[in-house]
């Protein structure tokens, strides 16, 4: 029994066949690893016919940092700080996922204050992440100014989060058993001020881009991903919801205090780039609504349930817990053996699973369509590669 294992260079240099001299020749183009539209170091090998894409081969590994191997040498609290660097735009949600897995494995209960703050701060970061996505979408589609508006408003949330968590991007704030710090006294008034500030700005976003006929034409009926394909390709989060499946872990398997708040799930009808675009815009509004409901109702209590230097012993058994980040469901798999370091730690990253639908949706389109598709998938490449 033997398997033939090909290499990328064999695919890119196929054996020459005796084509007729008049036939058009397909050629390969490397998009990436350093390309402005691939959001980092994703490499897409494109088989092109003129400007039309015939095949997309994603090549990963340009930022594969072996986080899973490293996690086999670290204990729970240390793994949390690594997850900041995976999906750095949802760093808090990543922290929460690992913390939740460790807490579930150890059977630690957290008090309502911790859960409320976690929910609140993750929703803030969801808004922040979508703001960045909106800006970068504009950049990818050539509307540079939207990029600056998105980042300008993102800075407001960054300021709020920085004041509480002590860092701007890689926060390491949600810890197994609680939080790193208590809320900053300025947090509540500043969040309220932000919501007041941001709602009109969101309308302005829609005037600037959503209404724009060029953007609509660039996104409408581009990269259509059917519901069946979306499920088959393991898509989650906004990408899955855009295909018409109202699946949101915050509703399906409520964690934190999501079962106590009311919000709607935006769902697409066609599954094209436009649906993915609109869903993220609407999610920002829904997240603002969640924050508004929670901001006045933060219960009192401790912010840490464990001793800070307590040993995090994982019992023997496997634990898989999911969290809805801004990009989909992040799953954390921990295999404990009774030690404090896990035998195996695996992350089901939403971006890794969302990425692969591009091999289907981009075929037959133009390069510009591919840019729009990659942009609306909202990929964070370090999370794909881990």
């Amino acid at each position: 029994m033997s398997l033939e294992i090909r290499t990328l260079s064999e695919i890119m240099n196929p054996p020459q066949t005796a084509d007729s001299p008049l036939s058009t020749q397909e050629y390969f183009v490397n998009m990436g690893p350093q390309h402005p539209a691939t959001h980092g170091v994703l490499r897409l090998v494109l088989k092109m016919d003129g400007e039309t894409i015939r095949e997309v081969i994603p090549v990963l590994g340009y930022i594969h940092r072996s986080i899973e191997k490293m996690a086999e040498y670290l204990h729970g609290r240390q793994i949390v700080h690594l997850t900041d660097r995976m999906d750095y735009l949802s760093a808090l949600a990543n922290n929460w996922a690992v913390s939740r897995a460790v807490e579930t494995a150890m059977g630690v209960q957290t008090n309502p204050r911790i859960e409320t703050i976690r929910t609140l701060i993750c929703e803030l970061q969801r808004v922040q992440s979508h703001q960045l996505w909106w800006g970068v979408l504009g950049l990818d589609l050539g509307a540079l100014t939207s990029f600056f508006y998105g980042f300008r408003d993102r800075e407001e949330i960054t300021d709020i989060l920085e004041e509480t968590t002590g860092a701007r991007l890689t926060m390491n704030y949600i810890q197994p058993g609680g939080l790193m710090f208590d809320l900053h006294p300025n947090f509540v008034p500043r969040v309220k001020a932000f919501i007041k500030y941001f709602r009109p700005k969101l309308d302005e976003y829609e005037t600037l881009l959503s209404e724009n006929v060029i953007l609509q034409e660039r996104l409408r009926n581009v990269g259509v991903l059917s519901a069946e394909d979306a499920i088959g390709y393991g898509a989650t989060g906004p990408v899955l919801r855009a295909s018409g499946i109202p699946l949101d872990l915050r509703k399906q398997q409520p964690y934190g205090v999501y079962d106590q708040v009311e919000f709607s799930v935006p769902v697409g009808t066609v599954g094209d780039c436009w649906d993915r675009y609109w869903i993220r815009i609407e999610e920002m509004r829904q997240s603002l609504g969640i924050i508004e409901q929670l901001i006045d109702n933060i219960p009192d209590g401790k912010f840490m349930e464990m001793k800070p230097a307590a040993k995090l012993k994982l019992p023997a058994g496997s634990f898989y817990l999911q969290i809805e980040t801004a990009r989909g469901s992040l799953g954390v798999f921990l295999q404990g053996t009774g030690e404090d370091i896990p035998h195996r730690c695996h992350f089901r990253s939403p971006n890794f699973n969302n990425l692969w639908s591009v091999t289907k949706t981009a075929v037959g389109g133009k390069i510009a369509d591919l840019v729009a598709i990659v942009s609306t998938l909202d990929l964070v490449i370090p999370d794909v590669d881990r």
């Binding site: 881009l209 060029i214 390069i367 510009a368």
Partner: protein, 385 residues
């Protein structure tokens, strides 16, 4: 005696507008061109004077182009910054006014890379083609009654012929770089410019019909009673819009910057260019923007002609107080600002949408507009006809 006969027509200065009985042409708008001055000197056997005019004109053009490039780079960065709630260059000189000079020196001193696999000759030539097309178009640009290099009888045709010249540079640059992204960019640019040339010229034809002349000075003087953009019951406005859209496309600026497409093609045709050669592309792009704005002003906004309202003597007299050069600069700056405004607001089109916009929308519209314009001209049914 008559050495350059097509250029020499001493009687053209006696142009007289047909509006009322007012004389506007002869005493106020005496048009003089550099070519005419040189010719006059030559006729008077005054070769020193001719040489001074020739050398001075050349030097002034080059200096003006360089200065304009610097000013525009600074203006673009500042305008972009203020659209985006930021400040732009601040730290070199007062509010960063020396920024383009620093950029220029740096680009000049940068290592010049020619890729090994590139076609050396064409790679070196390509930026100069862009610059050449730009300078050729400057030849017929009427800046003010006194400042114009040459006032060709077939100025519009010359302009239409020359405005496609820059694409040679783009095409050669993209092809000779031996880079797939450059190639894609060059192909896009070629397709785009060839297509949009059609509706650009059709839009100009409307104005040519109204003014009855192909000559720049006469087109401007025909707007002494009012600019063509509003005098022709919407025909001029539609032609203006078509011209603006087509010239943005000709300029390769957003939302039609497909040939550069930074997020798609990593720079497009100038991906492989560095240092001074890239600077030349950069300069040509900015100067072309000014030229497109200047010609838009010339054809639709009256060029250096002040804002006149038919035969309202008092109003027109007030307007005439403002020198023509200022009018021209004002109109051109407005158009340049409009182009910048477009660039910093709109997303980019896709390549097939770009073609569809031209062939399925702009071309029919400009053809119909041309027909309507012909009817308007024949019936004399426009303001102050």
């Amino acid at each position: 005696m008559q050495i350059w006969s097509p250029l020499y027509r001493p009687s053209i200065w006696s142009f007289r507008t047909s509006i009322g009985n007012r004389e506007v042409g002869m005493d106020m708008w005496q048009v003089t061109t550099l070519a005419a001055r040189i010719q006059e000197s030559l006729l008077n056997q005054d070769f020193v004077r001719a040489g001074i005019f020739l050398g001075g004109g050349l030097a002034a053009t080059v200096a003006a182009v360089s200065l304009l490039g610097l000013v525009l780079v600074y203006a673009e960065r500042k305008v972009a910054a203020h659209f985006q709630c930021r400040l732009g260059p601040m730290r070199v000189g007062w509010h960063g006014v020396l920024q383009p000079i620093a950029d220029g020196i740096k680009l000049f001193l940068k290592e010049d890379i020619i890729p090994t696999e590139a076609d050396r000759l064409l790679f070196v030539l390509a930026p100069f083609f862009c610059i050449l097309g730009m300078f050729l178009a400057i030849l017929v640009l009427p800046v003010s009654p006194e400042i114009q290099i040459i006032d060709l009888d077939m100025g519009v045709i010359f302009l239409a012929a020359v405005s496609g010249f820059g694409v040679f540079g783009v095409l050669l640059g993209g092809w000779s770089s031996n880079n797939k992204w450059s190639m894609l960019g060059a192909m896009r640019a070629a397709a785009q410019i060839v297509s949009y040339e059609v509706s650009l010229t059709l839009a100009l034809l409307v104005v040519v019909m109204f003014s009855g002349s192909l000559k720049m000075s006469e087109i401007i003087q025909s707007q002494a009673a009012g600019w063509w953009i509003w005098r022709a019951h919407g025909v001029g406005l539609v032609a203006f819009l078509v011209y603006v859209i087509a010239s943005v496309a000709e300029l390769n600026r957003a939302p039609f910057d497909l040939s550069e497409g930074e997020s798609e093609l990593t720079g497009g045709f100038h991906t492989e260019y560095s240092g001074l050669r890239f600077g030349l592309f950069f300069l040509a792009e900015f100067i072309n923007m000014v030229l497109a704005s200047a010609f838009a002003a010339t054809f639709f906004l009256g060029g250096w002609m002040p804002f006149h309202l038919g035969d309202w003597q008092a109003f027109n007299a007030v307007m005439d107080r403002i020198p023509p050069l200022l009018w021209f600069v004002g109109k051109t700056s407005f158009m340049v600002f409009l182009f910048m405004w477009f660039r910093w607001t709109f997303p980019r089109l896709r390549v097939d949408q770009l073609m569809a916009l031209e062939w399925k929308f702009l071309l029919p519209v400009s053809l119909v507009n041309l027909l309507v314009g012909a009817a308007v001209v024949l019936s004399g049914f426009y303001f102050f006809s």
